[in-house]
Symmetry: C2
Subunit: 362 residues, 2 copies
């Protein structure tokens, strides 16, 4: 199963909106006779690749899959059927399909065909790998990561707004990988206006092997700009870098103008005078978004945090002090310690000269 998870990870940048899935087929003698992973939507699932490689040797073998084999006809025929047809003797799945309406049916189909079935092997690793797909299936919302870059004293830019990449090349490559694995990157007007940000994936800066980089380049994440008042001009580098979705409060009749420039303008009901973020996220999930990366300034990132919409913070900390008048990590004024949100730190790791802190709400 560890090998199957390793294979599944090959699809980290490309399977959207599908989950990353790997499959290993092991003959009775213990030899691996087939391996496969799901590359991209519309193409064969992991099981099909592995069964093709195994051929006749799949008969009586054990198939390890990181996700319950599908039982429905989608863009490809159901994998459960393929496994039955190939005559495998046993199927071990890391986890059930997280969609509550289908969970277990693939395994049932296998059992009905007389195949021995086990489920729950390395389940937490498997859920982690598809954390966004699992959340979307279970709750109709994407998994929201907020990326922040701060100084050791928790500041993001000078009071004047003066800012620049305070973190080094290794941290930037890590951010590129975060972008590449995301279905959607969300940013705000301030970031695009003041930092001239494009929020694209630059395949050559990912620091991964050529095959992965090519897959990432072929499946760019959707870039979403939250621009309530339509302040960002269509001439901005952000818009020049490719098609984007702009979420605003009122489209001012300008939808056609954005469309002509290759972008989509979407008006969302106001929540407190701002774009309604929960509604935006639900809409993105309905469109297949598994993982959403928020790369924005303290105001927008703070708005996500205040509304409890953040599943994970990825904070890149540079070894410097920006001082007590510099801008905060998040615009989130609190009066009493009792209100202070508790987090759990999952990991702190050196990334070049910087450090990455992964924290989740406790």
């Amino acid at each position: 199963m560890t090998r199957a998870l390793q294979l599944a990870r090959q699809g980290l940048f490309s399977t959207h909106p599908n989950p990353r899935v790997g499959c290993v087929i092991v003959a009775a003698c213990g030899e691996i006779v087939g391996e496969g992973w799901h590359v991209r939507a519309g193409e064969p699932h992991a099981e099909v690749h592995a069964l093709r490689q195994a051929g006749e040797r799949a008969r009586g073998a054990t198939a390890y899959v990181t996700l319950e084999p599908c039982s429905h006809h989608g863009r490809t025929p159901p994998c459960a059927e393929a496994l039955v047809k190939a005559g495998v003797g046993r199927v071990v799945a890391a986890m059930q399909d997280p969609n509550p309406q289908v969970a277990g049916r693939g395994l049932e189909r296998l059992r009905a065909a007389g195949i021995a079935v086990a489920c729950g092997v390395l389940e937490s690793e498997a859920r982690e790998l598809n954390v966004g797909f699992v959340k979307r299936m279970e709750r109709g919302l994407p998994y929201v990561r907020v990326k922040l870059a701060m100084s050791l004293d928790g500041r993001t830019a000078m009071a004047s707004g003066e800012s620049q990449w305070i973190t080094g090349p290794a941290a930037r490559a890590a951010v590129q990988r975060l972008r590449a694995r995301s279905s959607v990157i969300v940013t705000g007007a301030d970031t695009v206006l003041f930092d001239n940000a494009r929020l694209t994936v630059r395949a050559d800066e990912l620091g991964v092997e050529a095959e992965q980089a090519a897959l990432a380049a072929a499946r760019p994440p959707l870039r979403v700009l939250i621009d309530g008042q339509l302040r960002v001009p269509l001439t901005a580098a952000f818009f020049q870098a490719g098609p984007a979705l702009v979420a605003c409060c009122d489209d001012d009749g300008r939808a056609a103008e954005y469309q002509a420039a290759g972008h989509e303008l979407q008006a969302l009901p106001r929540g407190n005078g701002h774009v309604d973020l929960p509604l935006l996220l639900a809409g993105l999930a309905a469109g297949g978004a598994n993982e959403v990366l928020v790369e924005a300034g303290p105001r927008l990132a703070g708005a996500f945090a205040r509304k409890g919409l953040v599943d994970e913070y990825q904070i890149f900390m540079a070894p410097q002090l920006l001082g007590s008048s510099a801008r905060p990590l998040l615009d989130w004024p609190l009066e009493h310690m009792a209100e202070a949100p508790q987090l759990a730190i999952r990991e702190i790791r050196a990334v070049g000269n910087d450090w990455r802190i992964i924290a989740v709400p406790a």
Copy 2:
């Protein structure tokens, strides 16, 4: 030498103002025949303990010492002489005496007596162990550590001043050990007035073995209160907890009053209307202070930082957010990124549920 350094560390809490020193004597056959470490000032040096244990077996043996043996008559006779007298065949020292006026003389004395001498084995570890003693000898100043406790977003207390220990018991024990190893603990009037801080070492909270705890209890660090305007009343818990030194700008003729209460009041020339910190540190070093721990609020800690007086930050980071209106890590307003002080992060380590960051000026 690794063993000798281990022995030297036994004196971490007690050798002030002397350095921590360990000694191991190894006979020609490879057997350890004597071990010793310096316990406290006025008592025998490490070499003497080790030679006593070795007795006749020291003859022809190799002595490993973490610091060049002394060559002068202090409160105890010179160790170089004792080694010569015992007839050791070889002396390996981790480092020379850092005092430029004596460095090398102990080793010379040994060489003159026909003993083979080597120096520089595990030198960086040896210097690290006595980082304060080395700095005092070389530069006439103590090594200044600033301890800070902050939230993940770099804040120390709410805007209202509401604060409380935001870090857990493991972090508090680590702070106790920082206090116990220090010659001096420096704090400010704000911390004593608002947090009712005593800044004492509580031996039972050190989390170390009984022998070490007893040594720590027997050698409490000097507590120094920087109170320019003499705002802290003598009834404060800080003063009730034991004798202290109070540094002020003008003693207002109140020295006798402080003395009667068991404390010392010292007026220092003003630097910008505040107590002159470099002068204070030089005075502490002249009094034998090796390591100084600053435990103060953002104002005083910020003043040390702004003046470039900080050798090391020990930042305890709690996994919570205190928000954008909370108090900063250090009062240190900066306007431009070019002024931002660069640090090097030496270590980030989990301490209970909190994380300790050790950073030094880059």
